[in-house]
């Protein structure tokens, strides 16, 4: 019994000692998606920066599968020593728990959220020859032709899909959801006039908006985006309180010692504020997120989880 007590005391002491010498060996940054997406790219940028400031290699590792759940689960169950980080996102923290029914991890209890890295607004885009020139006209058009308008999205349960469902709920309209595999083919179909509208993240929609191949009607965020300062928000256009962004950041296993979380958060914020990194994240469509500290991020993730659980339930989008 005494041995056990000694053992417990010892294990309790380890994290403190470990926190002081952290990091003493290479870190892993798990990216729960296939290489090449925006989360992957920003993760690799961050890994390079952290490597400089922490003085230890930070190795990005792609662990795709099950909408990101596999990679996040591995980190949730990893040793809470601050050596295994994960790029956590709106999908894995806020949407998948209700979309998939049961997840192997609890996004709030099994993970400690460190810092929010990127927040990209979604934009409401319509095909060029759609008669609606603004949000009000679009709502009128959707009411005039119930069930006739098609809205595309990158996948079932994506933020684009759920923004569309939210729009339908708030306006009392009915439009048909057409899911694609990624937003690029949906944009192509919209250019060709096969679908009418779409909520897409700013980064992937911006080139087509700039080239005037598609028309933007509004952003889905409370604040206007610095990329399209003349574009009204849905909130301004009458859908009060409409506020949806696509976001991702860095999380670690829940029991990671506080000093390590704080240090990690400070280093990530420092990396994000570096001019070159700032510019690159900005080029991905992200205005600097307002959520910064670990506690802010945790509260934000909890609020988002609540919003999307409700939204997924009411929209009927659910994977088994």
């Amino acid at each position: 019994m005494r041995r056990l007590a000694a053992f417990l005391a010892l294990t309790a002491a380890i994290p403190l000692a470990a926190a002081q010498s952290w990091p003493s060996r290479p870190l892993r940054l798990v990216i729960p998606y296939a290489a090449g997406g925006p989360v992957d790219v920003s993760g690799r940028l961050l890994a390079a920066k952290l490597q400089e400031s922490l003085g230890q290699p930070v190795v990005p590792e792609n662990k795709p599968g099950a909408g990101g759940n596999i990679g996040v689960d591995q980190v949730a169950k990893s040793a809470p020593d601050g050596y295994t980080l994960v790029m956590s996102a709106i999908a894995t923290l806020a949407i998948n728990p209700s979309l998939y029914g049961s997840l192997p991890y609890d996004p709030l209890k099994d993970l400690r959220h460190v810092t929010l890295l990127v927040q990209v607004p979604n934009v409401l885009i319509v095909r060029n020859d759609l008669p609606a020139k603004n949000v009000k006209e679009l709502i009128a058009l959707a009411k005039e032709r119930p069930g006739k308008l098609d809205f595309g999205s990158g996948s079932t349960g994506s933020t684009g899909h759920l923004a569309g469902e939210m729009f339908k709920m708030m306006t009392g309209t009915y439009m048909v959801h057409i899911p694609y595999k990624g937003s690029a083919p949906a944009i192509a179909d919209m250019m060709a006039g096969r679908i009418d509208l779409m909520f897409d993240n700013l980064a992937s929609a911006l080139p087509s908006i700039k080239a005037e191949k598609l028309r933007a009607l509004a952003t889905t965020t409370r604040k206007r985006s610095s990329f399209l300062p003349d574009l009204p928000t849905l909130d301004e256009a009458g859908l009060k309180g409409f506020d949806m962004t696509t976001w991702w950041g860095v999380s670690v296993a829940a029991k990671t010692p506080q000093p390590i979380v704080d240090r990690l958060s400070a280093e990530i914020l420092k990396a994000m504020d570096a001019p070159d990194m700032k510019e690159r994240l900005h080029n991905m469509g992200s205005d600097a997120p307002s959520v910064r500290t670990p506690d802010q991020f945790a509260a934000f993730a909890a609020a988002e989880l609540k919003t999307y659980t409700e939204l997924v339930r009411r929209s009927g989008a659910k994977a088994e």
């Binding site: 099950a66 690029a184 083919p185 080029n283």
Partner: protein, 519 residues
Amino acid sequence: MEGIFHNLGIGFVECFRLQDITLWGMTFSHVPFNIIMCLIGVLLGTLIGVLPGIGPVATIAMLLPVTFNLSPVAALIMLAGIYYGAQYGGSTTAILVNLPGESSSVVTCLDGYQMARQGRAGPALATAALGSFFAGCFSTLIVAMFAPPLAEVALKFGPAEYFSLMVLGLVSAVVLAHGSLVKAISMVILGLLLGLVGTDVNSGVLRFAFGISELADGIGFVTVAMGMFGICEIIGNLEQKEKREIFTSKVSHLYPTKEDWKRIWAPVLRGTLLGSALGILPGGGALLASFGAYTLEKKVSKYAHEFGKGAIEGVAAPESANNAGAQTSFIPLLTLGIPSNAVMALMIGAMMIQGIAPGPQVMTERPQLFWGMIASMWIGNLMLVVLNLPMIGMWIKLLTVPYRILYPSILLFMAVGVFSISNQPFDCFLMALFGLLGYVCAKLGCEPAPLILGFILGPLMEENLRRAMLLSRGDPFVFVSPSKPISLGFLIAAAILLVIIAFPALKKKREEAFAAEDT
């Protein structure tokens, strides 16, 4: 026409522009930096093409952060080089050890490996390199001259058109096999079923995953292809204890003979044209290029009976087609800003991070970038053929390595390659399982190629079918309505092909032909 020359002038000047570069604190003055990046790109591309499993997507993703410190032109030239360089390298392992590293080289295995078994690995490799070179140059010209109008054509392809194209592809999958029709159809259907594993696009429901979360995104193509071809071949070889063939003892020449030249020019031309056309289509067009070219060749060639037994046309056509397709798949990216595959999506990522919004305005606002990239494709293709032809001798030497050393190395490379895709050991076990399945199929006389095509096309076909039905609100006539002539045309072509395959009189002839062959 003059405009083109002017623009290409800009491009070549940009490629060879001498720059002062600072690397690792050292300054190099007057170096043609862009062309050096092109060389690095094609070298890397060839290397990853040769290594099974490690594809251009993973490589480009890993190199993205490095490219941020380069100028946009240099970065894109290098990334493009990796992409089309991989198309050259991919054929090497397919021909030498029956190991398709990319989806496009599956068909190259069919005849390329048979040629290697007959001691004709040299001509097969040379044909692949030269065919790719011709196709690359030709299709780059198409990109330079007709990119904007062709992009409009690509937009004409909606879900209905894609579905009908896939139907045509699937019917032609049966032609890929040279044995029993029933077995070929069964393999296509087995492939379709395997393709269904994973998350349903429309409802998000998991299908055939049996609670295994690694199966939630479906089975990887590389896993299936390496198992069914690579591992199966190794098992088969080890089974023949003493008599393992020694390919090199029969090597008579490294390069194609005069007779070969006569046989390959027409298939190369047809493959290039078909590949260029299919490459333009985002969403699976390029995948079909090499399969389509092989099927076409088998139908029109007077050496049709040799297909599957080492016909040089069976290497020339698909290799030209896949390289042509790789080149023209830049069209939707450069003119519309729409990526046609994962590599193109990465290129968009690279452009955005550099602060360039891809799309039609790139051509006018940044002519150096646009035309520099096009010019680099010619230079890169030239570099590739110069690099690859002398390497043939070296590759042939590889075949003299004793099999007891060669096969564990191949297995190791395959395992590393498969593991590197998603860092899951599960995929390696799955590959081994497919190796066993491939072996059983081989014993039953069922060929893997139709299965692979069914596996690739099945999910695409389902996705487009259901999307077309959603858009038409459930009207099945959407595929044959006169307002969709492209879709109708494909379905008619598929029906004709089906009749040719299934018509009893023709079928009998077909069997006779095979019976004659077998004796």
